[in-house]
Subunit: 254 residues, 2 copies
């Protein structure tokens, strides 16, 4: 079974040219068995502020009204996506930027209004594995933006981690898939102040212990809980690392 690496790069990498270049320097060695998914970090927020759009938040999360959606599509599907693709093409990687609507790959639906109307935010319904596999088999590296679409033709702002999970899980039907979350830390650290203390691998039992002992806490908890869910969906392993250690970092296993 062919091995495919799905790499999700965080917003901080997209905003930082030096970090982005370092990552792009590393990617040719995984090509053509690699898929990229990126977020947009604060790009859209910055643009919205410059345009004088009112920022509507609920419990620390942004509400995407019609104007904010346009800004998000411009920043993520436009600037962030094409910048990454051009950097990869320069390095000999035949990348193709895709948003969910392109080839109908990621279909979502508008999040239903319960207590709060999140606006144009999409929850993923399905990922078309055939289309992604077609690109991979043609030697093309898909680069996903976190903009998806509904069958009603609405563009929807979607959590980039969810897109990465969805794409990785769909590809797991056909390939041996590893999902890498590439962020600004070299893994799950035993000592938060020591970048050399990344824990090589964590299974469920070890996770329970690390949580109990307080080594894993705060923002790292949902990341790991999410990683175990991803593994349950058929993905072989989830890796947490930074651009300099794409073969290292911390691997989450069953």
């Amino acid at each position: 079974m062919k091995k495919i690496k799905v790499i999700k790069i965080g917003g901080k990498l997209i905003e930082n040219t030096e970090l982005l270049n370092r990552l792009c320097d590393e990617l040719p060695r995984f090509y053509p068995n690699c898929v990229l998914v990126h977020g947009g970090g604060t790009l859209a927020g910055q643009l919205a502020t410059k345009l004088g759009l009112e920022v509507k938040m609920h419990e620390g999360r942004r509400i995407t009204d019609a104007e904010t959606l346009k800004v998000t599509v411009m920043a993520y599907a436009g600037l962030a996506n094409k910048t990454v693709v051009a950097e990869l093409q320069k390095r000999g990687v035949n990348a193709c930027g895709v948003s969910g609507c392109d080839m109908g790959i990621v279909v979502s639906h508008k999040r239903p209004v319960k207590d709060i109307d999140w606006g144009f935010v999409g929850d993923i319904e399905s990922v078309n594995c055939d289309m992604v596999a077609m690109l991979l088999e043609k030697g093309i590296m898909p680069v996903f933006s976190p903009i998806t679409f509904s069958k009603e033709g609405e563009l929807l702002n979607t959590n980039a981690d969810s897109v990465a999970n969805g794409v990785a899980s769909a590809l797991a039907e056909r390939y041996e898939v590893e999902l890498t979350f590439c962020f600004d830390k070299p893994g799950v650290l035993m000592d938060i102040d020591d970048d050399n203390s990344a824990i090589p691998s964590i299974n469920r039992e070890q996770f329970a212990e690390l949580k109990e002992s307080g080594v894993i806490y705060s923002g790292m908890l949902p990341k790991l809980e999410n990683a175990f869910k991803t593994i349950d969906s058929g993905v072989s392993a989830v890796r947490l690392t930074d651009p300099d250690h794409l073969d290292g970092g911390t691997v989450i296993v069953k």
Copy 2:
């Protein structure tokens, strides 16, 4: 030889939801033997103005500095492109938005500085027919934004008519190609005030006569001169029409 219709839609269609919807309603009948190329109209200019960017013009044409380029990429490769793709997906057309960098389809170079530095403006070097053909053969309708890229990894703002010409000419190596320029007039009119006076077809001899008699003048002249050049590059015919007459309008032939 398979027939392919390359349709270039002008900026006015992109800006006008009603016109765009009318066009999208017509496109399913040409699918899957159709390629779309769009401009962005005044979308980028409006955004640049809202962001307070200084508009630099030379002889009526915009100079694309680094910040203006970002705005152009956001507006054309982002918002305009994904809006069209989502509208087509809604109508059952498996469209895929592409900018020049995607799959390395349209390579350009930065326009050399002579009297004037146009900034990040690209002149087309090559169009990869194989990649476009691959999409068409898979039943995917490519939707091109006018953003191209250089081998140095720069994104470049490019004239949408030039992208349409480049794509049509490249496809003419393999298919019988008709290039349609879809704008807000139902063709080349005998009487500018009568929308029912479209001239069905014009060859070089007739063009000379119509120019001589003053029927064709001003903005229509470069459009037609351009059309004759396109035909010389192997494209079978060039059609000038509006969204309601995609099989009618005026056809430019040898």
